[in-house]
Each structure stands twice: as C-alpha cells, then as structure tokens.
C-alpha cells in the first residue's frame, strides 16, 4: 500500500485512539484473539490448521503455546460438524472462534450457520444465545480461482440473527474482532487475504469497533464511493485518480454489513447526489444491491441521485491473470465509473495507470 492510502484509511477512525504503533492486519487479529483469550477463559479458537506451523497466515501464531491444546486446536476436515460443535460449545457458555482459511468452505457449514446459529435465540424464545465468531478469508489472485475467491457475505446478510463484519484496516481488524468475541450473538467475521498485508496504527490496549457504525474514510462532495472489504482499498486509490480530474470523492467503509449503518451513507448521498457501491462479490442480490435499495427507499421523493453497483463480473472467477484482471473492479475502473456518474454520461475516460499506487504486488502461493 502506498503511504498516502494508508494515511487516508488510518487517520479517520471516528473513535480511534491516536496510536503511533503500527501493526499488520494479521498481527492485529492475533493480538485481539490473544488479549481476549487472556481476559476470558471461555474464549476458544479452532478450525482447520489453526495450530499448524503456518498458523492461519500467522493470525493464530503463539496461541497454542500460551493457551494449550484444549483452547487452541486444529480440527478434522468436518466444517459442518465443527460448526455445530461450536454452537454446542456456545450453548454451554463458551465463546468459540471458528476459523476457515477460505470463505468458500463455509458452504459446508451452511445448515449449522443458517438453521441453528442464526435461529436458536429466536426459536428458543430467548432461552439461549450463541456467542460464536466465524472467521473466514476471501482469496484473490495468483490462481485462487473458482473456489478460493468468493465473497459470499451477502448470503449471511440475508438472514436475521447473524451479524456480518468485513474490516479493512488493522485498526478495525482488532476492534471488530474484540467486539465480535464479546457479542452474545453469532458474527461472521470476513477477512480478505490481500488486506492481511496491510499495516496501520493499532492501539496496544483492547477496544471495540461498534457494530452498525460505518466510517467515512475520505471526505468529498462530488460522489460517494462505498467500498466493501478489499474494494475499500481500491476505492481509496480510485479517489486519487479522480482528484487528478478535479472530482472529490467521499469514500465510506461500511465495516459492519449487518447491522448496516445506512444513515451515514444516506447523509453522504444527500450531499453528493451520486452513489457508487463497489462490492467484493457479485452484484446480483449482493451487498451493493441492498445498500442502494435502502438508500433509494430513504431518499425517494425528496432527493434524486444517480447510482451504480460494481462488483465481480457475473462469471466464475478465472485463474489466468489476463482474465482475472477483467473479473475484478479495480481503482481505475472504479474511477472511470465514478466520473461517468458525476458527469451523467459515458465519457469513455480511463485514468492512466500510476504505478506508485500499485506498489503492492502479491506473489503466491497463498
């Protein structure tokens, strides 16, 4: 990440305590887990490979040594039963964190997540609650392809009883994870493999990033860019391209997708009159569709605005780099779409690539 982008995303946290200490996204997750495990013996972390030498990209490193194998353990390859097991632990008063190194693997756990975790509190008349955190990672590039790259959080946004969070900075990675662990209800905590490499200020003490509150990561008056998960980074870069042509983009990071802070987005659109939501998933029935629908419901009749969704191409993710480039929105295609929204016409403009904005190049394997 270029320093300017880091500053743009790090300076803004609405409730952040100033901190000089810099941590990676990975270390922020590890620290949050460590601090919560130290504070509360009911917190456990498990999942495929959490105790192996690579320790889930380092996010669980050192925890086994510190807390022992009954609180930190790798599991059999049984996502369905292990999710059900996590729910059973939660029913007995524990606070499990179940880790999946790819979000795609959650498809094996849908029955337990949707039919049990989301519903138990309600269908049992409030007699129980399920304090469960499910961490999962979205992959990207270097051949991640069809089954290692999906951003499927909208599935979970659809279902009452689940909360969904997709932090994009190390600060939020820590604060959201602590909030999720302390929450009495299930939280889907969505990471992105590319975001793992981010560095940023992270206070050493424990803090929570409140559910249902978005953050304005850059202020502008011409167009509102809402970037979800890794698309937040692309939006912040797109903003720099737009600056070159005199367009001031306001960038919003929803952080929590459920509960969703629609108020912050609505206020921004009232100001800019243009809304571009860039999703880290497909647009059909996706998070972007939901955000735009909610804004339209709120603003219809008293404020007209132009709107657009962007997201993955409506195909399966290909592995060839040349095709994959076309599959994802990026800072330049976002900037181009934003300019078209502002001008109300298809301008055909595409910013010339600034290599300093692409200083981060990931080389596999993941």
């Amino acid at each position: 990440m270029p320093p300017s982008v880091i500053r743009a995303s790090a300076k803004r946290p609405t409730r952040a305590t100033p901190s000089e200490r810099t941590l990676s996204y990975v270390d922020a997750i590890r620290e949050a887990t460590d601090q919560e495990m130290a504070r509360d013996p009911s917190v456990l972390v498990f999942g495929l490979d959490v105790d192996d030498p690579k320790a889930i990209q380092g996010t669980t490193r050192g925890l086994l040594e510190k807390y022992g194998p009954s609180r930190v353990f790798g599991t059999p390859l049984s996502e369905d039963a292990m999710t059900g097991t996590a729910i059973g632990m939660a029913l007995a008063g524990l606070r499990p964190i179940h880790v999946h190194i790819r979000m795609d693997f959650l498809m094996l756990a849908m029955n337990q997540l949707i039919n049990v975790a989301a519903k138990s509190r309600y269908m049992y008349g409030g007699k129980v609650s399920i304090p469960l955190v499910v961490r999962s990672m979205i992959g990207k590039s270097w051949g991640q392809g069809a089954q290692h790259s999906q951003g499927l959080y909208s599935f979970f946004m659809h279902v009452p009883g689940l909360q969904v969070v997709a932090p994009t900075t190390p600060y939020d990675a820590k604060g959201c994870l602590i909030a999720a662990i302390r929450d009495d209800n299930p939280v889907l905590y969505v990471e992105h493999r590319i975001l793992h490499f981010q560095n940023g200020p992270v206070p050493a003490h424990t803090y929570t990033v409140t559910p249902g509150r978005a953050r304005i990561t850059a202020v502008g008056q011409d167009v509102t860019l809402v970037g979800i998960s890794q698309m937040q980074s692309e939006c912040l870069k797109a903003r720099l391209y737009l600056e070159e042509i005199g367009i001031q983009a306001e960038v919003i990071d929803p952080i929590w997708l459920s509960p969703l802070d629609i108020d912050t987005i609505v206020r921004s659109v009232e100001k800019t009159g243009r809304l571009l939501v860039v999703d880290n998933g497909w647009v059909c029935c996706g998070a972007a569709a939901e955000i735009i629908a909610q804004v339209a419901e709120r603003l219809q009749g008293h404020c007209s605005f132009r709107m657009r969704r962007m997201g993955f191409a409506p195909v399966t993710c290909p592995t060839a780099p040349s095709l994959e480039r076309l599959y994802y929105p990026d800072s330049r295609t976002i900037a181009a779409a934003a300019r078209d929204l502002v001008e109300g016409t298809k301008t055909g403009w595409m910013p010339r690539e600034r290599s300093e904005l692409n200083s981060f190049i990931f080389k596999g394997p993941f």
Binding site: A81, Q112, N115, G125
Partner: protein
C-alpha cells in the same frame, strides 16, 4: 423406580393421545410428530441421567422433553401457539427446550443436533464438569454427513457423550433397507472407535440399566458410547392418525411392537391400586395442561421482534 418409569411413560402417552384427540379442532397450531410407541427410548435413558446432564433431540421430541423433566403446561401451550409456551410461541412442537432441566433443544433438520450435542460435551470436558450429554437422533440422522463428522470428533476428543440412535425403521415413509447399503448403524459407530450396542425390543428396563452403567463409565472419562435402540412409531410421520393405508408398512409389522408396548408392560408390573393412582394423577395433569394452554394468552405483537439478536 418402576413407578417412576411408568409415570414418565404414561404421561407422554396420555398427553400425546390428548393432542391427537384435539388436533382435528385446529386448536394446536403446530405440526405434531408423535412419539407414541417410542416413549421408552427417551424414558429409559433420561431416568438414568442427572438433572445437570443435558440432552439434545429431534423434531419428534415430545417424549424427550417430558422425560428429561420439561414442564408439561409450557409444552402444551407452545403447541397451542401461546405466550406461556416454552419458547413463547417462537419454536413450536419441533423446537422444544427447557434449559432448567437440561433439554437443550431439538431440530427440524435431521441430524443437526448431533454436532451441537458434541460441542456441549466438549464444553463439559473443558470446564471439568462430570455431567454428560445424551444425543438423540433417528436412523435417518445416521445417514447425514454430520453424523459421521460428529462421531469422529467425539471419539478423537474422548468426549462425555452418549449417542442414542432411535431406530424406528423409517425415514418418513422409506424403510431403512431402502436407504442404507449396510443397515448396521452400530457398525458405523464402531468404525470410529466408539463402543456400540443394539438394544432390541424397545425395552425400557434394560435401557435404563444399560444407561446407568454406561453413564458411570462416561463420567469416569471413558469417552463416548453408542446405543442403537430398536423401536417403532405407531402413528403417521406427522399428524395424529394411523397411516397403514399408505401401504409402505403393514399392520402385521406393527403388531408385535404394539403387543410389547412398554406402557402396558410396566403398568402390569405395578400393584393395581398404585397404577390406578398414577393414572388418575396423570389424567388430571394432562387435563390441566390442556386447559392451561387453551386459556393462555397469545403472544403480544411486539414479541415478533424480540430475541432476534
């Protein structure tokens, strides 16, 4: 103990028969999957458990809820869709719960609670408690992937859990032979390293004795154990009636099960005056539960939005 077992069996039988009688009036606003004929499985196991042991069950869960000590009035009210129901009108017949007595829930999706039971057992072990978990599911549940995954993990961690496969021979209308290449469920449990035994004839006394013995072993750290209990559902899969006219099973098949009815069998082992006294008490209890359900208020509209998160 005989009296206790009989009372438990008789309560379930008579309440469910009352439900079946009331059902055509549409007062019960819930599908009912009656346990009639299968009561002995829940009763035999639960009679050997402690209050702090927990059970997880299935949508055919009336017997388990009552056998573990769940409140009859709260259950009846739940089926009537009333605010006084055990889930305040939110879960219905298929999601009975009574956390106070360790009935930790039931699922309408087959096999689902097996994993939840295993997780609870993990927590008990982690917390150093000597309680155990009893996980009830059917022969259909043993075909779900979650069954295999859960047994593997329970064996791996040597968890304090008793699996009870309540084998009534049918998943809705399809017999076990038509669904399983090798219809030996105990063999599958053993494949995961879990000691397993088949208990024939729905025998409540034998099941009680075996559970008592096995529970002590589990509490002492012996790890999971598996029962396949052979039983028979007398009524239709869902609803109050018989279903022999459908042709997927015959009355002849049911006859030996009905002749070996555990309610009748245990009743005959009691002194007539004791049996009649228990029956009278239960009839009054059932009657009171139905009156309570009928007279209870419906949930307030605001209840729709409570306990989502």
């Amino acid at each position: 103990m005989l009296e206790r077992l009989y009372r438990s069996l008789y309560r379930i039988r008579r309440l469910e028969e009352a439900f079946a009688r009331v059902y055509p009036t549409d007062k019960i606003k819930s599908p009912i999957h009656l346990s009639i004929g299968q009561e002995a499985v829940s009763v035999g196991v639960c009679a050997a458990l402690r209050l702090d042991d927990v059970v997880f069950g299935t949508y055919r869960g009336h017997a388990l809820y009552l056998a573990k000590g769940g409140d009859m009035k709260a259950m009846a009210a739940e089926l009537y869709g009333k605010a006084t129901g055990c889930t305040r009108g939110k879960g219905g017949s298929m999601h009975l719960i009574s956390t106070e007595v360790g009935m930790m829930g039931a699922s309408a999706v087959v096999g689902t609670t097996i994993a939840n039971a295993v997780g609870y057992a993990y927590a008990l072990q982690y917390q150093g408690r000597d309680a155990l978990v009893a996980s009830f599911f059917g022969d259909g549940g043993s075909e779900e992937g979650v069954f295999a995954e859960s047994l593997n993990f329970a064996a791996l961690k040597c968890l304090p859990i008793l699996f009870i496969c309540e084998n009534n021979g049918y998943a809705i209308h399809t017999s076990q032979e038509r669904r399983q290449g090798r219809p030996d469920i105990c063999a599958r449990a053993r494949a995961y390293g879990i000691p397993a035994e088949r208990i024939e004839h729905n025998d409540v006394l034998y099941l009680f004795e075996r559970t008592r013995t096995v529970a002590a072993k589990i509490r002492a750290g012996g790890g999971p154990h598996f029962f396949e209990v052979m039983t028979y559902r007398w009524r239709e899969h869902v609803g109050p009636n018989n279903d022999f006219h459908l042709g997927y099973r015959t009355e002849d098949e049911a006859t030996p099960w009905i002749e070996a009815d555990q309610v009748t069998r245990l009743g005959a082992m009691l002194l007539p005056e004791r049996r009649e006294q228990i029956q009278e008490e239960v009839e009054a209890e059932v009657e009171a539960a139905l009156v309570f359900a009928e007279e209870s208020p419906e949930p307030e509209p605001a209840e729709l939005y409570t306990d989502v998160l």
